[in-house]
């Protein structure tokens, strides 16, 4: 795990930093020694399947749960000892942010604003999250997307430096997801840090500046999405229909690994051009058509599979 070595890491550890954080529920090690460094003004993603420990990690930073051991620091503040600092300064959207169903949108924002010393005007938040038409609507009459926008608006009510979004796009339609992405990027443009959890690969890849892949309560790897792919999965993939009679132990130049994935045979290679040329030669010699041939570069999905040995959607 990249720890605090070098200038850039030193800077980030001073902002928001977790060291060797543990949390157990009974016999379940929900978070099992997590180190994380979150930089100011960046979008940080926690990627992992359900039960990986993402939400628990977030809730410990937010001051909702106390870690069993380890340290969480925010600037000069020790958040384990002073969870109120986190509650005062951070903006939080929980995985299931429910509000009073019979309170209106503007009343909900006002209610939460009354808990903080420094706040953004309710009108500004309503405009910004396009809730103007729904200003006087009861929370129970909002659509999924509108509820989500209200949850983010409430998370911003104290003008926070760091915003935590737990599965911000879960259960939303593609259009609503894009809207959430836009508002997350806007948060970064305003100089806020965003920490979000997701189990969508495309979301993590498109949105996050920095990623930590989690499973079983541990951080498996951390880095920028592209850098993570390049480091963990430097090659490319050749996909073939499984009708192509290619043996598991076929020898082709540059070929790293051959896997069968359902109706497909996938060849992972370090040198795409060499492997492709050799594959074409192999096919012509046997007079086999290369049905369904496609090439692609590695994605986060491949990285995740490589790191955890299982698919995210399991």
């Amino acid at each position: 795990m990249p720890a605090s070595q070098g200038g850039i890491h030193l800077a980030r550890s001073e902002f928001l930093c977790l060291k060797d954080v543990h949390k157990t529920y009974g016999a379940v090690r929900a978070v099992d020694g997590v180190d994380l460094g979150i930089e100011p003004g960046r979008i940080f993603g926690l990627l992992g399947p359900n039960g990986a420990g993402k939400t628990t990690t977030l809730e410990m930073i937010e001051g909702l749960r106390r870690p069993d051991s380890g340290t969480i620091t925010y600037g000069e503040h020790d958040l384990v000892r002073q969870p109120r600092v986190a509650r005062e300064r951070f903006g939080v959207q929980l995985q299931t942010s429910a509000f009073f169903e019979l309170l209106r949108v503007d009343e909900t924002i006002d209610l939460f604003a009354s808990f903080y010393r420094h706040t953004l005007p309710t009108e500004t938040l309503i405009e910004r999250f396009e809730l103007g038409e729904k200003r006087k609507a009861y929370v129970q009459h909002l659509s999924g997307g509108q509820r989500q926008r209200l949850a983010v608006a409430v998370a911003l009510v104290n003008d926070p430096e760091v915003v935590f979004l737990d599965e911000p796009t879960a259960g939303l339609d593609p259009q609503a997801r894009r809207n959430v992405w836009d508002s997350v990027r806007q948060l970064r443009e305003e100089g806020r840090s965003v920490v979000l959890t997701t189990h969508y690969m495309d979301e993590a890849e498109a949105l996050c500046d920095q990623l930590a892949v989690m499973d079983h309560g541990r951080v498996l790897d951390e880095g920028q999405p592209k850098e993570l792919i390049a480091r963990r999965m430097p090659g490319a993939f050749i996909e073939l229909s499984s009708e192509v009679p290619i043996a598991d132990d076929v020898s082709l130049p540059g070929l790293e690994r051959l896997t069968r994935e359902g109706p497909k045979t996938v060849l992972m290679t370090q040198h795409l051009d060499e492997t492709l040329a050799a594959l074409a030669e192999w096919a012509r010699a046997r007079d086999v058509p290369l049905t369904g041939l496609a090439t692609r570069s590695a994605t986060l999905e491949d990285v995740f599979l490589h790191l955890t040995g299982r698919s995210l959607r399991d």
Binding site: E62, L64, R87, L94, T96, A98, L102, L111, F115
Partner: protein, 356 residues
């Protein structure tokens, strides 16, 4: 304190908007009072049958009896009248002789003797009416005339007057139990509580806001029920405000504490409902809401003296009927018993309470 009040205010807003919940909150107590109020207030009349020849002077006698509001008079045949009296469908039958002989006529009053109280009333009412009729018919000057007059400000002890304090205590229990145990488990379940915990709002402030909201709602709804009972159902009550408020608030606090204990155990709203019913049902029927505790068999009475609702009902009823003077020893006992319950439950609830 400001934060606590904003929580209370927000909850009161949601309450006013929850028309259905409001309706049911008031519907049940009002229905109870209307139904039982009519049962208790129906004015008593004797069902008197008259049998005899169809025409002649006896018609005058029937008219004379009909003028007395105490009787519900009906003419019928001798045989049928005796049958109805035997069955208890009528209280008595006056059998008139044929008016051929000169007076005095000898009529026979046959009464149903199954219920001694009504039998005595029937006999004395019919004979005293006969005396009046004699005076009127013979034109004699009366020796003594008694004029009945209602004492001004007299208090009837109708069943409604007995029931109303019981209903108030019952409402205090039900509203507090369902309000706290029901909504807190729902908020726990849906993540409303967690969202509040992620703000600088202190947990005590949030719970304090919930308690204050329950007390405000409880007192306002009790006031409304008293107003309905007095204005529309003509209940007569005494309202010594301070001791009454102290008793009711302490009672609500006790049941709120029970609500917190239940909300601490129950994981979901559905799970909390049967627990609430198990807690509230025995008290609803045993603690003297609908009938005095003294009518219970002794072994039940000894159990009932441990239930908090018993003391709330007793205190509220004693004060509202004027039976207990404000801060009388009996009121103090009730308040003390509720206080003991409240303290015990408050301790348990702080131990058992879970935020998730």
């Amino acid at each position: 304190m400001r934060q606590l009040l904003t929580v209370t205010e927000a909850l009161l807003r949601t309450l006013v908007r929850n028309r259905q919940a409001l309706f049911w909150t008031f519907f049940f107590p009002v229905m109870l009072m209307v139904v039982f109020g009519f049962l208790g207030n129906s004015s008593f009349k004797l069902n008197l049958l008259v049998a005899g020849p169809a025409n002649g002077p006896e018609a005058k006698i029937v008219q004379a009896y009909e003028k007395i509001p105490y009787f519900k008079v009906k003419r019928t045949s001798r045989q049928r009248a005796l049958h109805l009296v035997r069955l208890g469908q009528a209280d008595a039958v006056l059998l008139l002789p044929p008016a051929t002989t000169p007076p005095p006529w000898h009529a026979t009053l046959v009464y149903n003797s199954a219920n001694m109280q009504t039998a005595q009333q029937a006999v004395s009412a019919v004979t005293s009416a006969a005396a009046q009729i004699n005076l009127a018919m013979t034109g004699q000057h009366p020796f003594l005339v008694v004029k009945p007059q209602a004492a001004s400000g007299s208090r009837s002890a109708t069943y409604l007057d007995f029931l109303l304090p019981g209903v108030l205590a019952l409402m205090a229990m039900q509203n507090s139990l369902f309000g706290v145990a029901g909504s807190l488990t729902r908020w726990k379940e849906k993540g409303v509580l967690r969202r509040f915990l992620a703000t600088p709002l202190r947990p005590v402030q949030f719970l304090g806001g919930v308690v204050l909201y329950q007390l405000v709602f409880g007192i306002l709804s009790a006031a409304l029920i008293v107003a309905i009972a007095v204005v529309f159902l003509h209940a007569t009550v005494v309202l010594p405000l301070l001791p009454l408020l102290a008793t009711v608030i302490l009672g609500m606090a006790t049941f709120l504490a029970i609500g917190f204990v239940i909300a601490g155990f129950a994981k979901t709203e559905e799970a909390s409902m049967p627990i609430i019913n198990v807690v509230s049902f025995p008290m609803m029927f045993l603690s003297g809401v609908f009938f005095p505790v003294t009518t219970l068999p002794p072994f039940l009475r000894s159990i009932v003296h441990f239930l908090p609702l018993t003391y709330l009902v007793d205190g509220v009823r004693g004060l509202m009927s004027g039976q207990y003077a404000a801060w009388a020893p009996a009121v103090q006992t009730d308040i003390f018993a509720l206080l003991v319950w409240f303290v015990l439950l408050a301790i348990v609830s702080t131990r058992s309470w879970r935020w998730e």
